[in-house]
Symmetry: C2
Subunit: 410 residues, 2 copies
Amino acid sequence: MAKIAVLGYGTVGSGVYEVIKRNGAIVNKNAGEEVEIKYVLDLRDFPGDPVEKILVHDYDIILNDEEVSVVVEVMGGVEPAYTFVKNALLRGKSVCTSNKALVAAKGPELIKIARDKNINFFFEASVGGGIPIIRSLNQCLTADDIEEISGILNGTTNYMLTKMADEGWEFEEALKTAQDLGYAERNPEADIDGWDACRKIAILTSLYTGRNTDYEKVYTEGITKISARDIRYAKELGFKIKLIAESQKTDAGLVAMVAPIMLKKSHPLYNVEDVLNAVYVRGNVLGPAMFFGSGAGKLPTASAVVSDVIAAVKNRSNVEVEWSDEDLDLANVGSVKRSFFVRVSGSGDDKLREVRSLFGDVSIVKVPGLEDEFGFITKVMSEDDFDKGYEKLSGAITRIRVDNREEELC
Amino acid sequence: MAKIAVLGYGTVGSGVYEVIKRNGAIVNKNAGEEVEIKYVLDLRDFPGDPVEKILVHDYDIILNDEEVSVVVEVMGGVEPAYTFVKNALLRGKSVCTSNKALVAAKGPELIKIARDKNINFFFEASVGGGIPIIRSLNQCLTADDIEEISGILNGTTNYMLTKMADEGWEFEEALKTAQDLGYAERNPEADIDGWDACRKIAILTSLYTGRNTDYEKVYTEGITKISARDIRYAKELGFKIKLIAESQKTDAGLVAMVAPIMLKKSHPLYNVEDVLNAVYVRGNVLGPAMFFGSGAGKLPTASAVVSDVIAAVKNRSNVEVEWSDEDLDLANVGSVKRSFFVRVSGSGDDKLREVRSLFGDVSIVKVPGLEDEFGFITKVMSEDDFDKGYEKLSGAITRIRVDNREEELC
C-alpha cells in the first residue's frame, strides 16, 4: 500500500481527494498497489468533512512519517510550498504538484534533488490542467527537434476574450462576470496581466529545450488593453483575439512571449473557446500536433495530479526529466516577424498617406459606426521595424499582433 | 550503445532511418545512450542507398545477433511480421511496431510475452501516426474512468470526404485523386471500407478497457455509399460527414463502431480536415480532451516509432500495459441512441405524412436543384427503433447517422 499526504485542501486538494475516492479501483490498478490518503494538511479545520479525521495542521507529522512515500502539493504560491516540497524530497518522498509558481521558480533545483534521491518530482497539472502536455513532452515527443510550442494556457482570459467577442462586452464587464463565476480571482492580475500564462510557457520552454527559462525574462503583455472596439475590428476581419503564450526557435534564437494576438480562422488555436486550454506543438519530423482540454477546474486538474501520484507510486526510481539549471538565452522579441493590426484616429487621404509612408501598402479596415478612426494591417515585418513606424504615427490608438500562419491543423 | 534492427525499408522504415540520422543527437540524449541501426531487413536490394551496407535479407542474422536489443517492425500485415516479432520477443529483444494489423490481431499475446521476458512491446505508431495517444492512455490518463474515445483515425478517407465537401466531387473522383497523391492504396478497401479505422478503434478500446477487443466484432461501415448528393444535404444543414471510429460506455454496455456520421459544427471533430487525425477522449474526471495531428505519413509515423525506440532503450525492464487476452463483450449497436438523416425520393403531402407516421415530428431539409427527393432528420432514437421505421419507408435512398452532441471542445 502506498500512503500519500495532500498539502492544501482548497479546490485542487479537495479534487484530489474526490478523484482518489471516486476512481479508487482504477487508481489502485494503474498504480499497481492501493493508494491511500493518510494525511491532508491545511491550516483550516473542516468539521463534518470526510477529511476531518486525517486532517493535520503540522507539516512535521507528514515529514516525519516514514510511511508517507508521496506528497501532493496543491497549496499554490512559492512559499511555504517550496520549503515543504524541498524537505519532502530531501526525506526521500516523491512530490506531485499543480503549482506553476513553484515549478517556474524552483523547477531545476527540485528536479535535481529528486534525481539525486532517486525519487520523483512530477508537475503534470502545472500547465494545461488535465491536458497531458508535460508527460507528452518528456516521454512521447522524444524523437523530435521541437521547433515551436504555442498555446492558450490561461482559461480565465480565454473565457473573457470569448465573451467579449460573443457578447460585445467591454473588458471590465467580462472580468466581473469571470469573477462572479469563480474563474477569476478577486486579485486577477496573475491572469489578466499574463503572468500565469508566462509561467506556464516558461515551464514548457524549459522542458523542450532542457534549459532553465527565467519566466521574468519572458516578454509578457496581458489583455487589459483589449477593448470592445478592438474586437469589433477583429470580427470585421474574421479574426479572433486570443492571449497566446508562444515559444519558438527563430533565426535570431529562441523567442518566448505572452501577448494578445489576432488569429486568422485557419489558425489551429482559433476555435479554442471559453475556459478551454490548448497547446500546439510543432516538431521537425512530427509536424504539427495539438492537445486540447480543460486547462483548469477542480476535477480536470486533480485528474492530472492523481495521474502523477500513480506514476510516482509505479516508478519508485527516478524518471529522468531534462531541465538543467543552466539559463536559456532568450532572443529579443524585436526580431520576431509578423503583421500588426493598428487602430488610428482620423480619416481622409492625408491620414492614409501618412500611414502608407510609414508602413507601405497596408490593408485598411473600417468598422461601421466608428467613423472617427480606422484600422489597418501591415505587411510582415519585425517588431523592431514596426515599432519604429508606430512611434512616428500620429493619432495611433492601439496595436495588436497578427498571426499570419496558413492552416496547418483544424 | 543500443543496437537496433529495422524490419522493412518501405515508407515508414525509411522514415525511421531518416529520423534517427537527422535527429541523432536528440535521440541519443533522450535514450540515454547512442542508438545505432545495425541492420535493415528487406527482401529488396537498394543499390546506392545509404542502407545498402547494413541491409540483410535473412531475418535469422538479426535474431541471432545478441547485440541487437530492439527490433523495429514496420513491414505491415500479420505475417511474416507476427512470426518475426514473436521470435524477437522470445529472444529477449524489445519490439516497436507501427503495424496496426499485427497489434489488433495479436496484441495481447505479444504484450504477454514481453511482460514475461521483462522487455517491451511498444506500438505508439499503430494508431494516430505521430499523435501520442497510446502512451497518453497508458501513462497519462490513468486517474480516469474513460467513458468515450471517438476519432478520425483514417487520413485517406478524411481527405476524400474533405475534398468531396470542398470540391463537390463524387466518391470515385475523390478516391482516384487520393490514389494519385499516394494517400490511398491501389487496393483501397482497408481504408474506404473502414477496416483500418476499425482496427485502430479496437486497439484503443482494448487499451482503455484493459480487455481484448476483437476488431472483427466491431460494427464497421465505410464511406463507399457516401455520394456528392449526401454531402449537399450535409452542407445545407451546416453539417460535415466524417468517418468516425467510436467506442463508448453506454447503459447497454460498451459499443464500438466505425461509420460515416454527420457532425454538427459544435462537434469537436468537425474541424479536422484533409489527412489529419484526431482523437477525442472523455474521462469521468478529466472531462473532454482531444489530440490532433498527422495521422499518417512517413515522418510523423516514424517520429512515433522512434519515440518508442527511445522508450525501449531507456526502459530496459517491462513497462506494464493493461491488455488482457480476455475478450471484451461488445453491446449491439442497435441500442445506441442518436438522430438519423434520411434521404427519400418523392415529395408532396402524402410522402410527408408517411415519414411523420413512421418517425414522428422530423425536420425536413430540401436541397435546391434536387426536386425529386428530400431529406429529414429524426429525433434521437435507438438504431433498432430507427431501423424498424426505415425498413417500412418507401422510396428511402440512404440514411446517415447524426451526432447530436452539444459543444464540449473546439
